[in-house]
């Protein structure tokens, strides 16, 4: 118990701080401008506790919290991106009546993301996801209260609780199948029940598992805005402040992908083949849908919403490859090519995408005149003349998202596509599926480049219509520059790539199954004879 509490110390620090903020807001003697500094300090404190956390406890124990390289790396990413977001809100929140609440909610979102990555337990994982969702409902309505914002909030709220219900339903099936909510124990049970020799196609498992898989995919599909579940994203991004749009483009997506990695690709032994099919199809339609619809947009935030949908599609490629690697552990891609396997590629891409998104939305926060937002893409006309440094940074983020070679977005796309191309030993249909996935991905990268380059062209090749009067304040500008510097640094991707590559090495199948009590094993075996394979 106490040990578990120690393992979530960084999250506890953030949660406690959020509670203090709420209390401070209700007594209201602290100046409004200082909340932002306190929030930044809180993030630093969380970083310190994360740094000094006791030695890593690997996945596989029966603790509800897993402190492994995946969770630690992800949590560092959360803190870095979170600090960028807090920084870019500094000026706009300095005079806001609800500054304390705002910062408390942002801290809770970051805390939730970190909790999801550390969850080794379905209930804790769900709690973390809700801790990302629930504060965003409030955030969406806090700073903007016109009709569009009302519509955005209602849409996001309703679809989010619907997705939570789907997710919980899926979790219930996982529990019904394995009799446990601990992910590593569930993995052990499913391995005992369904695993075949490595490299052979999985037997397919029970129908219940496939139902769970589809439901969890649907629930998390809402979070990451994958295509059949994406309808809220453009309206919500357009109907809210650039800060909230940026947070929505990053936080639920990151939490959704890390949850996908934790629950599905790490745990669902025996269901890899249906999972691969779902992930391949989802990735293809998400990329294509997002990119094609982004071509038609003239509102900047709407365009970025569709672009974020497309990026979710790219990241799903990595998830699909991850499923393949899960039943081909000896063919893990990392060793062969020097490029990371599917999961690590997804994680790398996630960080790179988050950085570019945070930077772009920081530009949108910094740039507008007081009381007015950047709406139409023509509002950016001639930015290269009037705000050269800002325009160069924005172009950097756009190039990174488009995947122009030296920038980190290129390395992310390369490792994702190479992962799909390197899948060879799969059964025929799947093999062609992965080949098609890589081709569709490459085509989509080209489609995506069209609208990113259009934005760059508007900024640099057209004469400015008016002189901008940026009102976002120096901190937002600093956030832009910091994100740009980090993106540039990642153009030398080796350190981060090798780090996430190390994450991708999952514990051996048998070792992970060790700690499960024998009671569970008999239970599932009985179950298996009842349900049988489809």
């Amino acid at each position: 118990m106490t040990e578990t509490v120690m393992l979530v110390l960084p999250q506890t620090v953030l949660g406690l701080l959020a509670c203090l903020f709420i209390l401070g807001a209700s007594f209201g003697s602290i100046p409004r401008g200082s909340w932002n500094s306190w929030a930044l300090l809180g993030l630093v404190a969380a970083g310190c506790t994360l740094h000094f956390l006791s030695d890593a406890v690997p996945l596989g124990g029966t603790t509800a919290v897993a402190v492994d390289s995946l969770s630690r790396g992800f949590q560092w990413g959360c803190l870095i991106i979170g600090a960028l977001f807090v920084l870019m809100a500094r000026e706009s929140q300095a005079k806001s009546e609800t500054a304390a609440e705002f910062h408390a909610l942002v801290l809770l979102v970051i805390c939730g993301m970190m909790l999801v990555s550390a969850a080794n337990e379905l209930i804790l994982l769900f709690l973390g996801l809700e801790l990302v969702s629930i504060p965003t409902y409030v955030l969406l309505y806090l700073d903007r209260r016109d009709y569009a914002a009302q519509e955005a909030t209602t849409k996001y709220f309703l679809l989010s609780i619907l997705s939570a219900a789907l997710l919980l339903y899926g979790f219930a099936f996982v529990y019904g199948l394995t009799g446990t909510t601990h992910l590593s124990v569930a993995r052990g049970i499913l391995t005992d029940a369904y695993a075949v020799a490595p490299g052979l196609p999985p037997t397919g498992g029970s129908v219940l598992g496939v139902v769970a898989l589809v439901l969890i995919f649907a629930g998390l599909g809402f979070k990451v805005a994958a295509v059949p579940f994406h309808f809220y994203a453009p309206d919500v991004y357009q109907g809210t402040t650039p800060f909230n749009a940026g947070l929505l483009a990053v936080a639920p997506k990151a939490a959704g992908f890390v949850a996908m990695i934790r629950v599905l690709s790490e745990t669902m032994v025996g269901f890899e083949v249906p999972a691969e099919r779902v992930a391949i199809i989802l990735a293809m339609i998400t990329m294509t849908g997002g990119n094609v619809l982004a071509l038609l947009q003239t509102n900047v935030r709407r365009l970025l919403a569709y672009s974020s949908i497309a990026h979710a599609g790219y990241m799903l490629i990595g998830i699909a490859v991850g499923f393949w690697e899960a039943w081909n552990p000896q063919r893990s891609l990392g060793g062969e090519t020097g490029l990371p396997g599917g999961i690590s590629a997804t994680l790398f891409y996630l960080f790179v995408y988050s950085l570019a998104s945070a930077g772009l939305f920081a530009v949108l926060i910094y740039l507008p005149r007081p009381g007015r937002q950047i709406e139409h893409i023509d509002d950016l006309t001639g930015l290269g003349r009037t705000q050269p440094l800002l325009a160069i940074a924005a172009a950097l983020f756009l190039f990174s998202m488009a995947g122009i070679p030296p920038l980190p977005g290129f390395w992310g796309k390369l490792s994702l596509f190479m992962g799909a191309l390197n899948v060879r030993s799969a059964p025929d249909t799947l093999h062609y599926g992965f080949l098609a996935l890589a081709i569709v991905g490459a085509i989509n990268a080209a489609i995506g480049a069209a609208y990113y380059l259009r934005l760059v062209a508007i900024m640099f090749l057209q004469d400015p219509i008016s002189v901008p009067q940026p009102s976002g304040g120096k901190p937002a500008f600093a956030a832009v520059l910091l994100a740009a510097a980090l993106s540039l640094a990642l153009s030398w991707p080796k350190p981060l790539l090798s780090y996430v590559n190390g994450i991708g090495e999952r514990p051996g199948v048998v070792a992970a199954g060790d700690p499960d009590p024998p009671v569970y094993t008999t239970k599932v075996n009985k179950h298996r004879t009842e349900v049988g394979s489809p």
Binding site: M1, T2, I22, L23, S26, F27, Q150
Partner: protein, 123 residues
Amino acid sequence: MSDYLPIFLFTAVATGMAVSIIVIAHLIGPVKRTAVKEMPYESGMDPVHSARKRFPINFYLLAIEFLVFDVELLFLYPWAVSLGGGNHAFGEGHAVFWAVMVFLGILTVGFVYTWRKGVFKWN
């Protein structure tokens, strides 16, 4: 299966009761159709107006506040009953005690916030 027989019986009785009440009321009750009675909601606000009309939310806030305490009680009752038992799934008695205290603390923070923000001021 026979363990569940009372539940099935209960379900059958409950369904039968509900259906028979509706059917009997329909058969023997007097029916006078007037404009007021044909409205979806016979009492309360006129249901047809702009969806963006403003209305006081005091009742809703109070209802949410009630819900918070209601759910809190739901957790506290089994906790209070089992606290003395000693052998818990989540650790020693002290840990269980403080875990729930943290839960109560978080709820209290929310309560203090709503209180200070004037939810209970009734103008």
